[in-house]
Symmetry: D2
Subunit: 135 residues, 4 copies
Amino acid sequence: MDSMMMDMMKSMPADKMRGMDMTAMQECIEACSMASMAATMCADSDTGMDMARCSSMCTSMVDVATATMRMMMRPMGMDQASMRAMLMACVEMGKACSAECMMHADMDEQCRMCAKACDAMVAACEKLLASSAMA
Amino acid sequence: MDSMMMDMMKSMPADKMRGMDMTAMQECIEACSMASMAATMCADSDTGMDMARCSSMCTSMVDVATATMRMMMRPMGMDQASMRAMLMACVEMGKACSAECMMHADMDEQCRMCAKACDAMVAACEKLLASSAMA
Amino acid sequence: MDSMMMDMMKSMPADKMRGMDMTAMQECIEACSMASMAATMCADSDTGMDMARCSSMCTSMVDVATATMRMMMRPMGMDQASMRAMLMACVEMGKACSAECMMHADMDEQCRMCAKACDAMVAACEKLLASSAMA
Amino acid sequence: MDSMMMDMMKSMPADKMRGMDMTAMQECIEACSMASMAATMCADSDTGMDMARCSSMCTSMVDVATATMRMMMRPMGMDQASMRAMLMACVEMGKACSAECMMHADMDEQCRMCAKACDAMVAACEKLLASSAMA
C-alpha cells in the first residue's frame, strides 16, 4: 500500500476503532482492493458460453470487496456486528469466486490471478475476524 | 417497482435461481434500492458534530444495500452461501443504521425516512432468508 | 418513484441546489436508477463470445449511472461544473451502451430493455443539462 | 501498484485498447484508486457544521474515481467517447474536491492528504486525455 494511505490510516481516530487490530485491518483493506481490481479485470475478460458464471461471480465479488474495504475505512460509524457480518459475506463470496476461477485457471491467466487475489483476501478477512476485537 | 423492471426480472433464467422465491426477491431488490437512496440523502444531510456517526453509517449502508441488490440481479453467478451471508450483512447494517437514525428522527426528516427505509429493507431481507431456498 | 423518495427529495435544501430544476432532476434520478438496474441484469445475461463487448459496456454503464444518480442526491456538495461533466459522461456511456444493446435486441429481451432504459436516461440527462441552472 | 496488478494489466488484450497509452493508463488507474481511498477516509473524518460540503464532495469523488478506474480496467467494452467524457468528469470532480479540501488542509490532516491525492489523479487523467489515442 502507498505510503500516503498508510499515513491516512494512522491518522484515523483510534478510539473509534474499538480495539481493532489496525495492522490486520490495513492488510485486509489492501487485500480487498486487490481482489476488487482483479475481479473487475477477470469479469471483463470472461468470454464464451462457459464463462458466464465466472463473470457474474467476479462482478459481485467487486461489489462485495469494495463495500467491505470502504466499511473498514470509516471509523466514525464502526459497528462491530455489521463489520463482522460483512467480513463473513466477503469470505463466502471470496471462496465461491476463487473456486469458480480455479476451474479456468489453466487456460485463463486473469482467472488464475483473480483466484489468487480472492484467496489472499479470504485469508486477510479471516485473520481480522479472528482478532480479539471482532470475537 | 417500474413495470419494465418487473419484465426484466421475469425474463431471468429461473433454473439459475435454484428455487428462490422470486416474489420475495423482487420485494427485497426494491427495498434495497429504496434504502440505498434514502441513506445517500440522509448521509448528505447530516451536518454538525453529533451527526458524524449517522453520516458514516448511512454511507456504508449505501454500499451494502447496493451490493446486496445487485447480487440478487445476477442469476448466472447465484451462490446460495454467498447470497445468504450478504443478506445477513445487509440485515446487520440495516439494523445498526436504523437504530442510529432513529436517535435523530424527531429533529431530522431525512433520518426518519432513512430509518423507515432501512426497517423495510431488513424485513424484506429476513423474509427472503426465511424462504425455503435460502434455508 | 416511490412516494417516500419524493418526500425525501422535497426535503432537500433548495438553496444548495442553486436553481436546479428539481422536477427534471427527479426524473433523471429515476431514469439513472432504472438504467443501472437494467444494465446490471443485461450484463449478467450476456453469454457467448459475441456478447463480451455488450457485457463490458453494461457493467460500466452501471457504475456511471449509479455515480451520476448519487451526485444528484447530494445537495450539500453540489458543484455545477462537476455535475455538468458527469451528466455528459452519462450521456456518452448511455448512447454507446444503447447502440451496442440494440445490435442484439432482436434475440435478447434483456438487451432490448437495457437499450430502452439507456435511451430514457440519456433523454433525462440531456433535459437536465438543457435547463437554465446547468447552462 | 502491486506487481500482480501489473501482470494482470499486461495480460489485457492490447488490440481492444485502441492504441491507448498503457503506461499512462496504469498510472491513472492507480491515482484513481488512491483518490478513492483518500476521499473515503476524508468524508468519514469530516465532522462539524462547516465540513458538510467537504464530506459531500468527497463522497461523490469516491463514486466518480471508482467508476473511472473500473472503466479503464474493462478493455472489452472500451469506447473512446465514453472514456474521454468520464475522464473529463473525473478531472472536474477532482479539481472541485481538491479546492474544497485545501480550505481545511491546515487544520485537518485527512483533508490535506485527500487534496494531494485528488491533484495527482487530476494530473494523471489529464495526461491520459492528452495522449494520442484519446485526442
